[in-house]
Amino acid sequence: MSFINYVINGVSLGSIYAIIALGYTMVYGIARMLNFAHGDVIMVGAFTVFFGVSMQGFNPFVAVLLSIAVCITLGITIEFIAYRPLRGAASSLVVLITAIGVSYFLQNLALLIFGANPKSFTSMVPLNPIRLAGGQIVISGETIVTILSCLIIMISLTAFIKKTKPGQAMLAVSEDKGAAQLMGINVNGTITLTFAIGSGLAAVAGILLCSAYPSLSPYTGSMPGIKAFIAAVFGGIGSIPGALIGGILLGVIEILGRAYISSQLADVIVFMVLIFVLLVKPTGILGRKLQEKV
């Protein structure tokens, strides 16, 4: 019985990783950059809802929409100020470092505005938990909503990229920026759109993260951000279904490792499995193999 519980716990934790990883992988897949500030956009999303619902008394639905709007604006602004000027820089590392600067900036801004004390987040999920086997197994409403959201986002993102013109443009930009430009695609606009979508997803992820684990502080996003990054690599970074699979697997491994091997070394186990998977399949579970060109 406890094994089933552990697996369920793992899936709930994993679904949170997955929903963050979706945003990560989306941005990476198109813009080819590791956006280390993604975790902090998540934090901003959660704070916006907290501000709206708990401090101003907005309707939760309005607050969620507001949060998505704030994050999209933030994402576009960050891209415009900090990342776009570095497009075409001599090294791809440069933008990674700038992303870290942005991450510090957002954390310290939130620290100034909201203070360091943790806030308790009111769950935005109105669903009651499901109890099975006479209350021995509990599946929380947050888990169900998170998994459903992951699936919906995954399907709509895939459809968007495959079926729509802007989606096709994204695909083209991710393949070859120069060639895409020659074909008349607005590269900057497409990347802005990517950041807008990624940041909107970050808002949703932040709300679900804090609904499941209701402690909110300026540093709430950074650790889940890193874990989600690992999940995205696990599943094959750039692959949208990969992010979902990677996230869930990461959660299950973390929980089972903690339960059956060592609670102190749970992260060590996660990282070891990650390294092992990458050794066997260097581009992650669903990653595409990149052809090495001379």
Partner: protein
């Protein structure tokens, strides 16, 4: 002067700079002109400069992205501190003990660099970044859970808690998990730090100039082409990576002997620290040894100088970091700077005066 090849001259300038700074600082200190904060920062500055140079070997010269450099520093710090702690009574001549600690720190970190490098260096780019990040975190987390005790029966190890060591009453816990090692002798000082900076520079600059170094750089520039002309890619990658790790270990020993306690905290040895070192390298110009040294000094001093800004300190630090990155790397800004450079300005002024 013209007889000396340019690269030599460049290296000599770097050595000269370090020695000059050392001399100036020593003179100022002897006249009591240096603030206590600055005196306290001298050893940390040496530590970060060594870290920046050593990571530049991996990132700039070998051309591989590593986000686990702080892990090697952590290994060096703990290996060195562990040695010093158990021999503090046996070896009373502290320079000798510190020398041995540095050697041990370097060997341990270098050995793990070699071990980790073997599987890891098959990856490239972002995948290498994530795998090195993973190894860095593994090292930090394992040391955080490591307990080592010493009593009459010898050493005891545990990965769970202090109680499970089963020590006798008179036994001593040397590495106490999250509480780390307390009571390392404070052997680090500015002179040793500068000597180690010079040594690091010497090793890295000579490596770059050597046959091996050229092989390493050829791998960076074109892996397939260098493989096709018979360069043993794995060997050279491993060589650069382990030397880089060993030097990070040296910095770690310096770190743990500068404070009297060392804890494998995320702040000191986590991925954030690895990223910080990477920031030095990138801001200073990837592959540019002197640039990364300057960046390490500037970025270490900056938050200390901004203490007066109180609660806005870290916010402004973040803004400065972003602006510096844009200023140093953005293609548009670089082009603008090209047009408005000082040389150009001087040229224009001269031209005007002639008219």
């Amino acid at each position: 002067m013209d007889k000396i090849p340019k690269i030599w001259r460049d290296n000599l300038i770097t050595y000269g700079m370090v020695i000059a700074i050392y001399a100036v600082m020593q003179i100022l200190i002897s006249f009591g002109l240096v603030s206590r904060l600055m005196q306290g920062l001298l050893v940390p500055l040496c530590i970060y400069v060594i870290l920046a140079i050593s990571l530049n070997l991996t990132v700039g010269i070998l051309g591989e992205l590593s986000l686990g450099h702080a892990g090697f520093m952590c290994l060096g710090a703990f290996a060195g501190a562990f040695f010093s702690k158990i021999t503090v009574e046996a070896i009373t001549f502290s320079p000798l003990r510190f020398f041995l600690a540095i050697v041990i720190g370097a060997v341990v970190a270098g050995f793990f660099g070699f071990l980790i490098g073997m599987p890891v260096l098959r990856f490239r780019g972002d995948y290498l970044a994530i795998v090195t990040l993973a190894f860095g975190e593994i090292i930090k987390n394992v040391i955080n859970a490591l307990f080592v005790g010493l009593d009459d029966r010898g050493f005891h190890f545990s990965l769970s808690d202090r109680a499970s060591l089963g020590l006798y009453e008179d036994g001593e816990v040397i590495i106490n998990g999250a509480q780390g090692i307390i009571g390392t002798p404070q052997d680090s000082n500015f002179t040793v730090g500068i000597v180690l900076v010079l040594l690091t520079l010497f090793i890295v600059q000579n490596l770059i100039r050597s046959r091996d170094g050229r092989a390493i750089m050829s791998i960076r520039d074109n892996l397939i082409a260098s493989e096709s002309i018979g360069i043993h890619v794995t060997k050279y990658k491993l060589m650069a990576f382990s030397i880089s790790a060993a030097l990070a270990g040296v910095a770690g020993v310096l770190y743990s002997h500068n404070l009297n306690n060392v804890v494998a905290s995320p702040r000191a040895f986590g991925y954030n620290m690895s990223i910080m070192i990477l920031v030095f390298v990138v801001l200073g110009g990837i592959g540019n040894i002197r640039g990364s040294m300057i960046a390490a000094v500037v970025l270490t001093l900056l938050p200390e100088m901004m203490r007066g800004l109180d609660r806005y300190r870290m916010l402004i630090y973040a803004i400065v970091l972003i602006v510096m990155m844009l200023f140093n790397w953005s293609p548009q800004i670089l082009a603008w700077r090209e047009q408005h450079s000082i040389k150009d300005l001087i040229g224009r002024v001269r031209g005007r005066s002639r008219v």
